[in-house]
Amino acid sequence: MSALTFELARQRYAVENLSDAHRELVLSRFGELETALPPDPLSADAVRLRIERSLDTASFRDRPPGPTEYRLSVDYDVDGVQVAGVGFRARIDRQTLSTHMVTCRDDAWFIDGFENLFRVVVAYRSFVSGSLVLHSAAFTDGERGFVACGRSGAGKSTLCGLAKGLGLTVLSDELNLIRPIDQGFALQAMPFAGDFGRSRAGSTSLPLSALLGLQHDSTPRLGGCSRAQAVSRIVASCPYLNADPQFVDRVTDRAVELVQRVPLRVLSFALDTSFWKVLDHEYPRARSAVSP
């Protein structure tokens, strides 16, 4: 059994008790996040994820027939968060965020389950450290970071496709992190797969230039919205925590703080690249990049 340490958005995660097969799978997906430093048993800064292999396959959710997307089961109790998916179940301790994953799989179902679980852990750890992980589409022209929040069907992947066609760099059409910095907020892609593919792990931060909601319309434009509407869009885009009774009020508070500093505007866009002229005109270029 072995361990790996990852660093993501300035937070460290120690994945422990890995079999050779599990180690290979985890590295295949998150190897770019690996740090040279081994996990320190005495260190409290790394969130620990312990993997336990079980031979009791009957006690796990079975794989569905054929290729399919399935909904992760997440339940919240006083002391922890329970997560379950195909071939695994896990518990996240609220105090330490230490996570115990039990799995009966050594194949692609394992790494898919691990990634799904890792998303949840990262969302909690990032929030505790002052950030917000949003279901969102993010892209950049190399200087300015644009993030559009929205749930499935809002047009995130469509917008990313259009942005890529313009030569812009897509960060992620799935999960992006917003972190407060001295002069505003930094934007960073999370290395989790979306419809548009997997963002590059360990990507650097950019200054957050625009916080957007999405709306389909034939005419590209930016519209304002009330703070309540803005907060609702942000909170609805905070996966896992917005359904956690112990976190939802804090998530809402943080969303209020965010939209007070960075007003959310609603981008109306059609299935063409005309939206970029609006964004390029409305948001001035950032003067410097933010360090990762």
Partner: protein, 93 residues
């Protein structure tokens, strides 16, 4: 799910959160992972009925605060409460 009636008591659904921001109301429906925004009049009605103020009294307050006829205020308030109960934001008893 029960159908709201004027005599019903309303409370926030246990799985929902509600707050007012700049006069508008925000419901966070944890079970569905959804968020609803209601306008100022609706936010006022929600605040009053969940404070256990009688429905008729809330309607009278709405008529006094806003330019609306009593019959219209009552019908609109009832529709609002029905919709919020159906959405899982409020519970009626």
């Amino acid at each position: 799910m029960s159908t709201p009636e004027p005599a019903a008591q309303y409370r926030l659904d246990p799985s929902a959160r509600f707050r007012v921001l700049d006069g508008e109301g925000i419901f966070i429906l944890q079970g569905a992972g959804e968020v609803l925004v209601v306008n100022g009049v609706a936010a006022f009605i929600v605040e009053r009925v969940t404070a256990e103020v009688a429905f008729d009294e809330v309607v009278a307050e709405v008529v006094a605060r806003y330019d609306v006829q009593p019959d219209q205020a009552e019908a609109d308030a009832m529709t609002l409460l029905e919709n919020l109960v159906e959405a899982g934001a409020l519970a009626a008893s």
